[in-house]
Symmetry: C3
Subunit: 467 residues, 3 copies
C-alpha cells in the first residue's frame, strides 16, 4: 500500500484499524460457536419423516388437495411467464432505442426504466383491484392497494380453479407485467421529441388509470366479457389499446422536426440495427410468456397449441413483411422484416388458443403485409411514428381481433370489431384528452433547439455513447 | 392543438369528428351494459365445485390419468425449453453480426430473421413429418403438413409415454426450434460475401429438406437408431450437420476478398465484441433448453445431470481455449475464450445425459483445445470462416460424438465415428451439390464492388449504424 | 468450381475425392439398412403399456413416491432458476462493459467469461462440499470434488425433503451459478486498471475459497445459522460479500488515473448506455431465478410472494433513485435509475420471502435513495468504483439484511447487523490480504502507459469495436 492510499479510506482512518475492528468482531463470534446448538443444514433438517413434510403441505390444502400438484405446476408456469413478460420491457427498450437516433437513446432507456417501475407500482397501489373489480357495473370500478394475496385461501386452488390456476400473488405479478406495456408502446411513437416530464405524467395516467379500466371490461368481467368478445392475451386490450393511445399522442404532438419537408419525407435511419434486432427477438421470447402464460394454467393441450400458433404467427408475419416489402421497396428491408415478425405476434395474440395451424400462418402472413402498408400509409399521412408502434400494435391489434372471427370457429365478426373499436376508441380519446391538457398546461414537446441537440443532452445531460 | 395539426389527421377529418364518432360508439355500448348478464371473472366462473374442474380434466385422460401431473410438468418443460432454443437464434444473430465487419451487419441480421422464420414454417409444412416418419425404410420418407396434433390422443401421455412426455404440439415446437440451426451455422461461415437470394434458397433446402432427412436416421428411428449410435441432443445431427454443410459452402464460395494475400493472412477483426459476447452467453443460456429439453420429460435425475454436465463442458471448454490460446498466441484472446465455451457446449451435447463430472470436464476442456487448433489450421488451409462455425460446430460436433465412446460407458467408438461421418458427409455432399448448382445457375457471391462496399448497402440499402 | 478452389481444400485433395469417399461410405451403410431391426421412434417404443413406464418410475421412488410429482416440479424450477442465474453473468458482463470506457471492454468481457468458468469449476472441485460440509465446527471445513450426486438417493425426495426439493445435481448447479457472483462484483469495481493475471488469481481464491467458507456459516449450517440470522437469498452472503471484497480491492488498487485531480473529480462517462441498460434488465430477469429459486421448491405461496416482492423492491428502488437523484443532481440521471433498480433488488434479497407489499416498497425505495448517496459519498472519499458495485452490492446488501428486522416480523436487528458485518468484514479482510500479497508479489495494476492505452490493446491485443 503506497503512502497516498489513505486518502481513499472511506472510514476516515487507516485500513489497519478496520482490520483490527473486524478481527475483534470475528473473535467475539468465535466463542459461542463452540456450542453445538447451531442449526443443521436445510437438507438434514427437513427429513423429519420420509414425506411427512409434503403430506403436511398437502393436508393444509384441505378439499383442494387432489389438485395440488397440478396447481403447483401451473403456478410455476405463471411466475416464469411473468418473468418472460418482464423481459419484453428490455425488448421494447432496445427496439425503441435501436430505431431512434443516437442523440435520444439515453432518454428512451430512461423512459423504459421509469415505465416498468411506475407500471408495476401503480398496479399494486390501485391497478390490480381496478382491473379485477369483482362484481361491478361492467364499466367502472375503482380499487385500492393489494394486501396479503396469500391470505383467505388466495394461495390455494380455491382462488381461481382451473380457469386461473395460480395464487393471488401469481395473478397479480403476471398481470402487473402486462400493465406497463401500453405506455411503452406510446413511448416508441412519441420518441425523439416528447418532453420527459409530461410523458411521465401521461404514462402514470395511461398505465395506472386507463389500462386497468379498459382491461376490466374484458378480463374483469365487464361489458366485453358480457358480449362474448374473444381476445385471448390482448391483441385489443393491450396492443390496440397502446397503439391507439400512441396515435392520439402523435396527433397532439406532431412529427419530428424536419421529417416532413416540402421536398418530401426525410427518412431518419435507425441508429443501431443490432439493438433493434435484439429487441425484436427478446420481444418474441417474452411473448411466449405473454401468450403462453395467458393459458392461466399448465394445461398441456393448450400450452402446446399456443406456443405453436404464436411461433407460426410470428414467423409467417416476418415472411409476409419480407415478401411484400421486397416487392414494393425492391430491397429486402430489415426493419420491415422485424416489424413483420412483431405484427404476426400481435395478430396471433387474440386467438392463439383457438386457431389452427393454417389459420395461424394466414393471420401472421396477412399481419406482415398489413404492417408494411400501414407504416407507409401513416408516413404519407404525416403521422410520424419512429418505431412503427401504431401500425404494429394498433392496426395489427385490430386485425388480430377481427381475424379471430375469420379464421377460428365460433366467433362473431361484428362483436370482435365492436370490441376492438371500443377499446381503441377509449384509448384514443383518453390519450387525446390527457395529452391535450398536458400540452395546454405544461407543454408536451421539447424546444426546437433541444430536439436538434437531442434529448440525451438537453433532458439528461448524458450521452449514450462515449469513447 | 395548433392549426397545422390537421394535416397529420389520418382519418381525413378533424380529430373532433373521430372523438364524436367514438363517443357515440361508447354510448351505444352503454345501454345493454346495464343488464346484469355479463360474465363473471374467470376466477369466480371456475369454482363450480372445489376441484371438480380438475377432476374432470383428469377423467378426460382415461387410462393415462395416473401420469397426468408428471405429464403436465414435463410438457411445461418442453415448451419452456423450446423458448430457450428459440433464443439461441438471437445468440447466433448477435454472435455472427458481432464477429463480422460493420458493413455486413444488416445482412447478417436479415439472414437470421429469415432463417428462423423459414425454418419453423418449412418444418410445419413438411419437415416434422419427414423427421419422424413412423415406420419407414430407415433412409428416406417424405411427410406432409402438420394438422391438429392435439387430436387422436396427441395431447395425452399416450402420445409418447415416458420417452417423450409431451403433447404432439410440444414435440413439434421443440423440434421446430432446432430445425433452423443448421442453416444458421452455415450463415456464419459464408458471411460477408454470400449473395442473399442464393443463400435464402440454399437455407430453405438445407433446413427444410436435408435436415429432417438426416435427422430421421437418428431421431426418426432410421439407420443410426438401428446401430445404437448415441447422440443425445445432436452434436452430430445438428451441429456437425451444420458445420460440414458450412465447410462445403465455404469451399464452393471461396474466402473473403483480401483475406489471404501473398503477404500472408490478413486478420479481419470483429466489429463488436460486446455483441459477440452477448451472443455466446445467450447461446449457452439457450443450450439449457437444447440439452435439457432433450431429456424429453422432466425426470429429475436426468435433468440435474444434464444441466450440470452441460455447464461443466462449456466452462471447461472456455478454460481449455483460454489456456492453449494464451500459450500459443501469447495473449489472452477473447474470441478464442468465447469459441472455447461454445466448443465445450457442442462437445457435451452428444453425451450430457450419460457422462460423469470428470468426463464432462475432460470433453469440454479438450473441445476448447481442439477448437483453437482447428480455427488456426483452417485459416492456414485458406478455408475462410469468419465466425469459426466449421471448427466449433463441425469439428467439435464430431469430437463430442466420438468422445462419448471414450468417456462414457457402453458406447462403441467405431459406431460413434461412423454415425458422425455419415451425417457430416451427407451434409457436406448435399450442401456442396446444392451450392454448386446455385453457383452455376445464379451465382452465390456478390460482386467484388458489392463486397467492398458491404452487403448492407449493396443488398439492403441500409446501414447498421447511423448517428 | 473454379480452378483456384483446390487451394482451399482442407483435405489435401480435390473435393471430388471426398465426395467419392463419402458416397462409398453412404453405400456401405445402405446394405444393412434393409434389415428391419432398427429401433422404432421413441414415441412408439415407450408405449409398453399405457402408464407402465411412469408407474415403474414411481415405484423406484419407494417411500418417497407420494411426493414425486411435487419433487419433479420443484426440481424443474431449480434447474430453470439456475439457468436464470447463469444469465445474470451476461447481465454483469454487459453492465460492467457498458459503464466502462471503450478501451477496456474486451478486458471486461474476458474477465467475465473467465469468472463464470472458474467459478463453476472450482465449485465442482471443492466449493460445493466446502459450502455444505454437513456436520462441522460451524466455522471451517474443507470439501473435495463432487461425484455422482444422483447416487445414494441423491435423486429422490430423501435428499432434501420440502426444505430442498431437488436432486443433488440440482442443488449443485443452482448454487454453482451463485458462486462466481462475488468475483464478478469485484471485477466491476477494479475495472479499467487492474492487471489481468493478478485479478484472475484473486478471483480463483475469492470465489473458490472465501465464498464457500463464508457461505457455510449461513447456508451450510454454520455459526450464522446457529444465531437465527435471516438472509433469504444472499443480500449478505452473496452481495455484501462481493461488495466489501470489492471495497478492499479498490483500496489496495487505487483509483483510475486522472479520476481525482487537483481540480476535482473528473467524471468518466459510460461508453455505452444501451449495453449498461441491457445488463440491468438481464440482471433483474435473472434475479427471479436468484430469489425465486431460493424458495428451494415450487411451493406456490412462497413463489408468488417472492416474485412480487422482488419486483416491487426493484421498481421502488428505481423510483427512489430517480427521485433523489433528480432532486440532488437536477437532472433525471439514467445511471442512477439503473443503479437504483439494482439496489432495490439487492435490498429485497434478504427478505423477499417474509416481507409484505408495503415493506417491499419501503425497502426498495430506501435502497434506491441509499445507493445514490453512497455513490456520491464514495466518489468524494476517492474510492473509485467505475460501476458502483460497492454501493449497490455492499452498502445495499447490508441495508437489506438489517431492513429485514425493521420491516418484517420476528427478526432481531442486532443479529442481522452482526451477521452482515461478520460476512462483510471477512470478505474485506480476505480480499485485502490476498490482494495486498498479490500487489507485493506481482503487482495488481497495469502500468500508466497501459492504462492510458487501455487494457484491450495492452493486455489482449484486441479492440472492442472496429469498422
Amino acid at each position: 500500500m503506497n503512502s497516498t492510499l489513505t486518502k481513499y479510506n472511506v472510514l476516515g482512518a487507516a485500513p489497519w484499524k478496520f482490520l483490527l475492528l473486524t478481527a475483534t468482531l470475528l473473535f467475539s463470534y468465535a466463542l459461542p460457536a463452540h456450542a453445538d446448538d447451531h442449526a443443521e443444514p436445510a437438507a438434514v433438517e427437513a427429513e423429519a419423516g420420509p414425506v411427512d413434510d409434503y403430506n403436511a403441505l398437502l393436508e393444509a390444502q384441505g378439499e383442494y388437495a387432489p389438485a395440488y400438484d397440478f396447481f403447483t405446476t401451473s403456478m410455476l408456469w405463471t411466475v416464469i411467464a411473468a418473468a418472460l413478460v418482464f423481459l419484453m420491457h428490455l425488448g421494447f427498450a432496445t427496439l425503441e432505442s435501436g430505431l431512434c437516433q443516437q442523440k435520444n437513446v439515453v432518454n428512451v432507456l430512461f423512459k423504459n426504466v421509469f415505465i416498468i417501475s411506475i407500471g408495476v407500482i401503480t398496479y399494486a397501489l390501485f391497478g390490480f383491484n381496478t382491473h379485477y373489480p369483482g362484481d361491478f357495473n361492467g364499466w367502472f370500478s375503482w380499487g385500492g392497494m393489494i394486501g396479503d394475496l396469500n391470505a383467505d385461501g388466495g394461495n390455494t386452488w380455491g382462488y381461481g380453479g382451473l380457469g386461473l390456476a395460480m395464487t393471488g400473488f401469481g395473478d397479480f405479478i403476471f398481470q402487473a407485467m402486462f400493465a406497463a406495456t401500453g405506455a411503452t408502446i406510446v413511448s416508441g411513437a412519441v420518441a425523439e421529441r416528447v418532453k420527459l416530464s409530461s410523458f411521465m405524467i401521461f404514462a402514470v395516467l395511461f398505465v395506472g388509470v386507463a389500462y386497468p379500466i379498459a382491461g376490466s371490461w374484458h378480463w374483469g368481467g365487464g361489458v366485453l366479457a358480457g358480449m362474448d368478445f374473444k381476445d385471448f392475451a390482448g391483441s385489443t386490450v393491450v396492443h390496440a389499446f397502446g397503439g391507439f393511445g400512441a396515435l392520439a399522442c402523435v396527433m397532439v404532438l406532431g412529427p419530428r422536426k424536419g421529417k416532413y419537408t416540402e421536398n418530401g419525407i426525410k427518412p431518419i435511419p435507425a441508429h443501431s440495427f443490432p439493438l433493434a434486432a435484439i429487441g425484436v427477438f427478446l420481444l418474441m421470447f417474452g411473448w411466449y410468456g405473454f401468450n403462453g402464460g395467458s393459458v392461466l394454467s399448465a394445461e398441456p393441450s393448450a400450452l402446446g397449441l399456443v406456443f405453436t400458433t404464436t411461433t407460426l404467427g410470428a414467423t409467417a408475419g416476418a415472411l409476409g413483411a419480407i415478401s411484400i416489402s421486397w416487392f414494393m421497396l425492391k430491397k429486402p428491408d430489415l426493419s420491415m422484416a422485424l416489424n413483420g415478425l412483431l405484427a404476426g405476434l400481435v395478430g396471433i395474440t387474440a386467438n392463439a388458443d383457438v386457431i389452427d395451424v393454417g389459420g395461424a400462418l394466414a393471420i401472421g402472413f396477412i399481419a406482415g403485409i398489413i404492417v408494411v402498408f400501414s407504416i407507409i400509409y401513416l408516413d404519407k399521412a404525416k403521422i410520424d411514428d419512429p418505431v412503427g408502434a401504431i401500425s404494429v400494435h394498433g392496426v395489427c391489434g385490430i386485425w388480430g381481433t377481427v381475424a379471430t372471427a375469420i379464421f377460428a370457429d365460433g366467433f362473431d365478426f361484428v362483436t370482435q370489431l365492436k370490441g376492438a373499436l371500443l377499446v381503441s376508441a377509449f384509448a384514443f380519446i383518453f390519450a387525446y384528452i390527457v395529452f391535450s391538457i398536458l400540452k395546454a398546461v405544461m407543454g408536451v414537446r421539447v424546444s426546437e433547439e433541444e430536439e436538434d441537440r437531442g434529448l440525451d443532452i438537453s433532458e439528461h445531460g448524458q450521452e449514450a455513447y462515449s469513447s
